[in-house]
Symmetry: C2
Subunit: 209 residues, 2 copies
DNA sequence: TGCAGTCTGTGAAGTTTGTCACGAATTAGG
DNA sequence: CCTAATTCGTGACAAACTTCACAGACTGCA
């Protein structure tokens, strides 16, 4: 039974949560869909409609209580718990991801890092020791992480994805420039900065307005 | 006059180009929309429709010539030229971006890096020397870069975006966790790994299928 | 208490995006 | 040359998504 909530809506939830966090930090108690729309470059109707998929969180004549709505959203997205993440690929990108401080505050903890390069295995990056790819299945069985970050070259992506999927991982954040094939029930999001730039240049190309 | 080609189509073009590059590397001459669809997890009809917005590149009974279609797509996206990029924010993330080897092969060259932290200004990262943010306008005037990568903390994002926009930049790749406001005619793409993970956990939350 | 003003939640309408299915072009093999 | 097998390009159709617009709920003030 796949839920009937559009995926585009799910993709917007993190943005809503982020903006609400900002409002909470600035001590704002209540926010209207109008105001949220301004902050998100979206429309009030869109925001109300999106939220209505999950329940009724606002109050007519007032708006939404910031802390309440934020808690609800975090609940909906499953963020009221910690998530364990493994990293595969400890090259430059992988190292940057390991030392990046943005994941942990949101409850995503990298608990193990793997690489196929034997000269990396055993070295320390941040607080982790790089493990051999061969140990992945065993380590996953022990720590039961739910997510994997893949930061390997494009040509290695599919085999790495296959490996983590076989180990039981159901969510993958893929930095490799490759569309990985995954079975039903496994979720992949691609991070593609180069593609993002390329889709910008399309609009800049006819130079002028 | 905004073009009437859907933005979703434009966002798919880089993926098409990437897959075609892979096929070209493997020496394949011709590819059908069926095959492309398999590789992209898309449908043949979608691909034919997308391509038809730009012209007629295929041949009935055969398919698309890989090298020809790739060249056409690169032309369409404006990739048959080099693009100059500036980086703002030379923290851990910024440094990783500077040393990342994925941009240059696609024609995106980082020509200058800026940071507001005086202790970073003057230091070398990769082949660049970090400049003070105050020099940005002047440097942009000289080098005429078309794109900017923003890799600063969320709270600094908007002011940095304002600055690069004022300097004349029309395309921004934003790594900061903040939805920047930009005037008409400026294009922003956000890179949001944390948000991507959060939209995955939504689906994993009801643990089971 | 009553009234004017605000703002949500939601069916219905409208728009955008994706799929279907078929004519026409091309190839390959007698 | 003729026929069977492919495959594109595209208008018509369907599905998905967004916007509209309004009833109903709440607030604040006199």
């Amino acid at each position: 039974m796949t839920s009937n909530i559009p995926e585009v809506v799910i993709l917007r939830l993190p943005l809503y949560a982020r903006v609400l966090r900002g409002l909470a930090d600035r001590g704002e108690d209540v926010v209207s869909s109008q105001r949220l729309g301004d902050l998100l470059h979206s429309t009030p109707a869109q925001i109300r409609k999106d939220l209505s998929y999950f329940g009724r969180f606002g109050k007519q004549g007032r708006g939404y209580r910031v802390d309440h709505l934020l808690r609800e959203l975090r609940q909906i997205m499953g963020l009221e718990r910690q998530w364990s993440v493994i990293l595969v690929g400890v090259g430059q990108l992988g190292k940057a991801i390991l030392t990046y401080g943005g994941f942990a505050p949101q409850g995503f903890h990298v608990v193990a890092a793997f690489d196929s390069d034997q000269s990396l295995v055993g070295t320390s990056v941040g607080s982790l020791t790089v493990q051999a790819s061969g140990e992945l299945a065993e380590t996953v069985k022990q720590h039961q992480p739910q997510l994997a970050i893949v930061a390997v070259p494009g040509h290695a992506c599919q085999s790495v994805v296959d490996m983590v999927v076989r180990a039981g991982i159901k969510g993958i954040l893929n930095y490799a420039p490759h569309q990985a094939q995954v079975p039903e029930g496994v979720w992949v999001r691609d991070i593609d900065p180069v593609g993002a730039l390329q889709s910008i240049t399309y609009y800049l190309k006819p130079n002028g307005s």
